[in-house]
C-alpha cells in the first residue's frame, strides 16, 4: 500500500502534446495560429518573390490590383509593387514585434522581479519609476524618444521596447509578491539557496505564464506603434514597413484607396493573430482552468 509502483502513476504525456491538446480546444486560437503562420510564410517568401527590392520601381504608378500580373496587387504612386511591400513589410513587422517585445519583457520582468521579491524601499523606488513612465502617454513618449534618437529602425525598436515595459513589470511584480512567500520558496531558502537562484530558478518559471500571455499583446501593440510612427512619417524610410505604405497611400486615398487599404488589412490580420494567440495561451497556461 505504501510503496508506489511505476504502474500506479499515471502515464506521462509529453508536455508539448498536453499543451497542444489544451490549445486546440479554442477554435479562435487555432485560427490565430494559422494567421500567424501565414504572416511568417509571407516573411519567408519575401526573398523569393520578384522584385527583391520593394522600394524599386516595378511598373506604372497607381496600377490597379488584379490587372497586371507583374504587379498582382497594383503599384503605389511611385510605381512600387504593393505585394512586394506587403511581403517585405511582414519581415519588418515581425522583427519589430519580436525584438521590441523581448526588450520590453526583459526590462519589465527584471524590474518587476526585483520589486516583488525584495519589497520595501526597492519596491517603492522601482514602482515610482514605473509610475513616472506610466503617467506619460505611450505614444507621446515614443515620439519624443524617436525625435531624440533618430528614426533608424534600431532606434524605433528600442524606443518601442522602452515605452511598453511598464505593464509586464506590474504583472511580474504581482506574481513575485504572491509567490515569494509560498512554501516551496521557503523550502528552497531553507536549503540554503541564494537570492539570485531563488528569483531565477524557483520563482521565475512559475511567474512566467501570465507574462508570456501578455507578451502576445505587446507584440501586437509594438506592430501598431511602429505603423503609427510610420504613418506620421517618422518611420525608417529605408524599409518598406506597412506603416510607411499606409502613410504614403494617404496622399492618394481618394482615387487609389487600395494603396492604403492592403497594408491596413495586413496589419489588422497580424494584430488579430497575436491577440487570438494570446487568448489561446491564456487558456493553456492559466492554472485555474487546467483540466485534462
Amino acid at each position: 500500500m505504501t510503496l508506489v509502483d511505476a504502474a500506479d502513476l499515471p502515464p506521462e504525456d509529453s508536455r508539448l502534446r498536453v499543451f497542444w491538446r489544451r490549445y486546440r480546444r479554442n477554435r479562435a486560437a487555432v485560427l490565430g495560429l494559422i494567421l500567424l503562420g501565414a504572416v511568417i510564410l509571407m516573411a519567408l517568401v519575401a526573398g523569393i518573390y520578384e522584385p527583391v527590392d520593394p522600394l524599386r520601381r516595378a511598373g506604372d504608378p497607381l496600377a490597379r490590383p488584379f490587372v497586371d500580373w507583374a504587379t498582382p496587387l497594383g503599384t503605389d504612386q511611385l510605381g512600387r509593387d504593393i505585394l512586394a511591400g506587403i511581403l517585405h513589410g511582414a519581415r519588418i513587422s515581425l522583427m519589430i514585434g519580436v525584438v521590441a517585445t523581448s526588450i520590453s519583457i526583459t526590462i519589465g520582468v527584471a524590474v518587476g522581479a526585483c520589486a516583488g521579491y525584495f519589497g520595501g524601499w526597492v519596491d517603492d523606488v522601482l514602482m515610482r519609476v514605473t509610475e513616472a513612465f506610466q503617467t506619460i502617454p505611450n505614444f507621446v513618449l515614443l515620439l519624443a524618444l524617436v525625435a531624440i534618437l533618430g528614426s533608424q529602425i534600431e532606434n524605433i525598436v528600442l524606443a518601442i521596447g522602452i515605452v511598453s515595459w511598464t505593464a509586464p513589470a506590474r504583472l511580474a511584480r504581482a506574481e513575485f509578491m504572491s509567490l515569494r512567500n509560498r512554501e516551496f520558496v521557503e523550502a528552497a531558502r531553507n536549503l540554503g539557496v541564494g537570492d539570485a537562484s531563488l528569483i531565477f530558478r524557483e520563482i521565475l518559471p512559475n511567474a512566467l505564464p501570465p507574462v508570456v500571455v501578455y507578451a502576445s499583446v505587446i507584440m501586437a501593440l509594438a506592430i501598431l506603434l511602429e505603423s503609427a510612427l510610420a504613418f506620421l512619417g517618422l518611420g525608417d524610410p529605408n524599409y518598406a514597413s506597412w506603416g510607411n505604405m499606409i502613410g504614403q497611400g494617404r496622399a492618394v486615398l481618394r482615387d487609389s484607396f487600395y494603396v492604403a487599404l492592403i497594408p491596413g488589412l495586413a496589419i489588422i490580420f497580424t494584430v488579430l493573430s497575436f491577440s487570438l494567440l494570446g487568448e489561446g495561451l491564456n487558456e493553456v497556461l492559466n492554472p485555474r482552468q487546467k483540466k485534462g
Binding site: M1, T2, L3, V4, D5, A6, D8, L9, P10, E12, R182, E183, F184, E186, A187, A188, R189, N190, L191, G192, V193, G194, S197, E202, P205, N206, G292
Partner: protein
C-alpha cells in the same frame, strides 16, 4: 433518537451521480441509500474524494451540472420526490424547509453586507413579515446561537467577527426558519478545537429543541463520536457501512471502517521515554517576535502584535518535542524563527551549542543543512516545475555536492521514504498528498540534518494517510537519530508522536512537560480546556489485532 413510526425527513434511494469523462471513476456516488429522521444526526463520513459533498449537492439540487449530474435514484424530502419539483418550488424549499451550513463561513458570507442584513434576507425571501418583526426575529436568533450583544452584532460585517462567531451566524441563517433538514458540510473543520466543541454543542442543542434532522458531513471520527446518532461510511462513492453511532464506532464490521478507525490516533500517550541524559541539540531562550502593523499614511503607526512572547524550550537528541496550540498561538512563528525563515526580535537560539541567530550570511547557509523543515502543504512546498529527483538533490547541490552523486543519493532516499525509484523522474502534481509529503521528507533528509522542524506535516492529509506518514516520521527519527520539533494543532497526533509538549496560547508558553504527564494531569487552565475540547475524547477507538492497516 426517533421512533419507527415517525416518517423520515429525508430518504435517499439508490442515488447515483455521474462524473465527467476522464475523472478517476465514472460515478461519484453509486447506489447510495440513506434516511434521516426528524431529530436525528446522521454523519456521512469519508475521506477526500469519497463523494460525500456531492451527496449534499444532489439533495439540494445544486450539483455543478451538466458536468456532474444525477443519473439515477430518488431523493424524497418530507414525502415529496425532489425531481418532480420545478426550479421555483425548489427555491422555496431551500432555506425554508432545508438549509445548509458550509465549511468556510468567511467565503459563504457576503463581505459587503452586514451580518444582520444577510440573516434578514432569508426572512425577506421566505416570509411576509414586516421590517420591524424581521429585525426582532434576527436579534432573537443571534441570541439563540449565543452571540454576545446580538443587537450590535447585527450591524457588524463578516470580517469584524471571529471565525467561530461567523459560523454561529451561518447557523443562525440556516436555522431561523426552523427547517426540517439541515445539511452541514464539514461545518467545524476550519475552526479551532475549542471553538469546534462549542459549535458542535450549539448545533446539537438547537437541533434537539426544534427536532431538526441533520445530515452532517465530516472526515473526522472524533467529531462523529461527539455528535452522531447514526453513521454512514462512504468509500469512493460506495456506502460501505451504516448503523447506529455506537456500533460503528466501537464494533465496525467493514474492513475499511476498521482501517479508518484504527488510523485515528489514540489519546493515550505511549509510555514516556527517558531523555534526561541526552545532549540538548536545539535550545531556544526567550524568543520574542512582534509583527509590526503597517499603519496607513494617515493613521500613523499602530501597535504591533506579539506573535511570540518569551518562548524557551530545549530539544534533546532523538527526542520529539511537540509545540501545540490553536491558530494564532504563535506556534508556526516559533518554528520559522528557529529555522531563520523569520528574524526574531530578541532571544537566543543555539544548535549544538553554537548560536544560530547571529550568523554571517555564509555561516547561515551552512547552518541550514543541519536544521531542515517539513512543511504543511505538500503541494505548495514542492516547486511544481521541478522533477522529484531535482527537488531532493537541490539542497546537497547548493551545498557543493557533486550533482550526479546527489541525484544518485536522492534515488536512494526515495526508497527510504517508501516511494518507488520510478518516482524520481516525475513532477510533484502526479502524486497524491501523502506521497508528496514523503517527497518533502526525503528532501529534508537529503541534507542529513540533526534537527527536523515539521510544521503541521499531516494536517492536510486524510486520516489513513496521516497515520502512515506519522509512522514513517517516527521510524526515520529512531533509525537516523533525528531530533524532531513537531508543530501541530492536533492533540491526538501530538499524544502519539511527541515525547514532550509545549502548549502555547497567544504567543506565550503556558505549560510544558512530558506528554503523558501533561495529558494525565494538565496544570494550566488553558491546557485543561484544550484537552477537554478534543472531539470524541470520551471515545476510545477500539484496537483491532487482526486488521491490515
Amino acid at each position: 433518537m426517533s421512533e419507527m413510526s415517525v416518517s423520515p425527513v429525508l430518504q435517499i434511494e439508490n442515488l447515483q451521480i455521474s462524473l465527467p469523462a476522464g475523472a478517476d471513476r465514472p460515478h461519484a456516488l453509486e447506489g447510495l441509500s440513506l434516511t434521516v429522521n426528524p431529530g436525528e444526526v446522521v454523519c456521512l463520513v469519508g475521506e477526500s474524494g469519497s463523494g460525500k459533498s456531492l451527496a449534499a449537492g444532489a439533495i439540494m439540487r445544486l450539483l455543478p451540472e451538466p458536468l456532474v449530474r444525477k443519473t439515477g435514484g430518488t431523493v424524497i424530502f418530507e414525502g415529496r420526490d425532489l425531481d418532480e419539483l420545478s426550479e421555483r418550488e425548489m427555491r422555496a424549499l431551500r432555506g425554508e424547509r432545508m438549509s445548509m451550513i458550509f465549511q468556510e463561513p468567511m467565503t459563504a458570507l457576503n463581505p459587503q453586507k452586514s451580518v444582520g442584513w444577510q440573516i434578514d434576507e432569508v426572512l425577506r425571501l421566505h416570509t411576509g413579515l414586516s421590517g420591524k418583526e424581521r429585525r426582532a426575529r434576527v436579534i432573537e436568533m443571534l441570541g439563540q446561537v449565543k452571540i454576545p450583544d446580538p443587537a450590535s452584532a447585527c450591524n457588524a460585517y463578516p470580517h469584524q467577527v471571529s471565525g467561530g462567531q461567523r459560523q454561529r451566524v451561518m447557523i443562525a441563517m440556516a436555522l431561523i426558519l426552523q427547517p426540517k433538514l439541515v445539511i452541514a458540510d464539514e461545518p467545524t473543520t476550519a475552526l479551532d478545537v475549542t471553538t469546534q466543541l462549542e459549535i458542535l454543542k450549539l448545533i446539537r442543542e438547537l437541533q434537539e429543541r426544534e427536532g431538526t434532522g441533520i445530515l452532517f458531513i465530516t472526515h473526522d471520527f472524533g467529531v462523529v463520536a461527539e455528535i452522531a446518532d447514526r453513521v454512514a461510511v462512504l468509500r469512493e462513492g460506495l456506502l460501505v457501512e451504516e448503523g447506529p453511532a455506537r456500533e460503528v464506532l466501537n464494533a465496525p464490521r467493514h474492513p475499511y471502517t476498521r482501517a479508518l478507525i484504527a488510523a485515528v490516533p489514540s489519546l493515550r500517550p505511549p509510555r514516556p521515554r527517558d531523555f534526561s541524559g541526552a545532549p540538548v541539540v536545539l535550545k531556544a531562550e526567550n524568543i520574542v517576535k512582534t509583527y509590526k502593523a503597517r499603519g496607513s499614511f494617515f493613521s500613523g503607526k499602530r501597535a504591533g502584535v506579539r506573535a511570540v512572547d518569551d518562548v524557551s524550550f530545549d530539544l534533546r537528541r532523538s527526542e520529539t518535542l511537540g509545540i501545540v496550540g490553536e491558530s494564532g498561538s504563535g506556534k508556526t512563528t516559533v518554528s520559522r524563527c528557529v529555522t531563520r525563515l523569520l528574524e526574531c526580535d530578541s532571544g537566543r537560539a543555539s544548535l549544538d551549542g553554537r548560536d544560530i541567530l547571529h550568523l554571517s550570511a555564509k555561516a547561515l547557509r551552512a547552518m541550514r543543512s543541519e536544521i531542515q523543515m517539513v512543511f504543511q502543504d505538500p503541494m505548495a512546498s514542492l516547486n511544481p516545475r521541478k522533477r522529484v529527483v531535482d527537488l531532493i538533490a537541490q539542497g546537497p547541490i547548493v551545498h557543493g555536492a557533486d550533482p550526479a552523486e546527489a541525484r544518485a543519493k536522492a534515488r536512494e532516499l526515495l526508497a527510504l521514504v517508501e516511494l518507488s525509484p520510478a518516482a524520481a523522474e516525475r513532477f510533484p502534481h502526479e502524486f497524491s498528498g501523502g506521497q508528496r509529503q514523503r517527497i518533502g521528507i526525503a528532501r529534508a533528509l537529503a541534507m542529513e540534518p540533526k534537527v527536523i522542524v515539521a510544521d503541521e506535516p499531516v494536517s492536510a492529509l486524510d486520516v489513513s494517510v496521516q497515520a502512515q506518514v506519522l509512522r514513517l516520521l517516527a521510524d526515520l527519527r529512531d533509525r537516523l537519530d533525528l531530533s524532531l520539533l513537531f508543530v501541530t494543532h492536533d492533540l491526538r497526533v501530538a499524544s502519539q508522536l511527541c515525547d514532550r509538549i509545549v502548549v502555547m496560547e497567544r504567543g506565550r508558553v503556558v505549560e510544558q512537560g512530558v506528554t503523558a504527564e501533561v495529558f494525565a494531569n494538565p496544570r494550566h487552565a488553558y491546557t485543561r480546556k484544550l484537552l477537554s475540547s478534543i472531539p470524541g475524547r470520551d471515545w476510545t477507538p477500539p484496537s483491532f489485532r487482526d486488521d491490515a492497516a
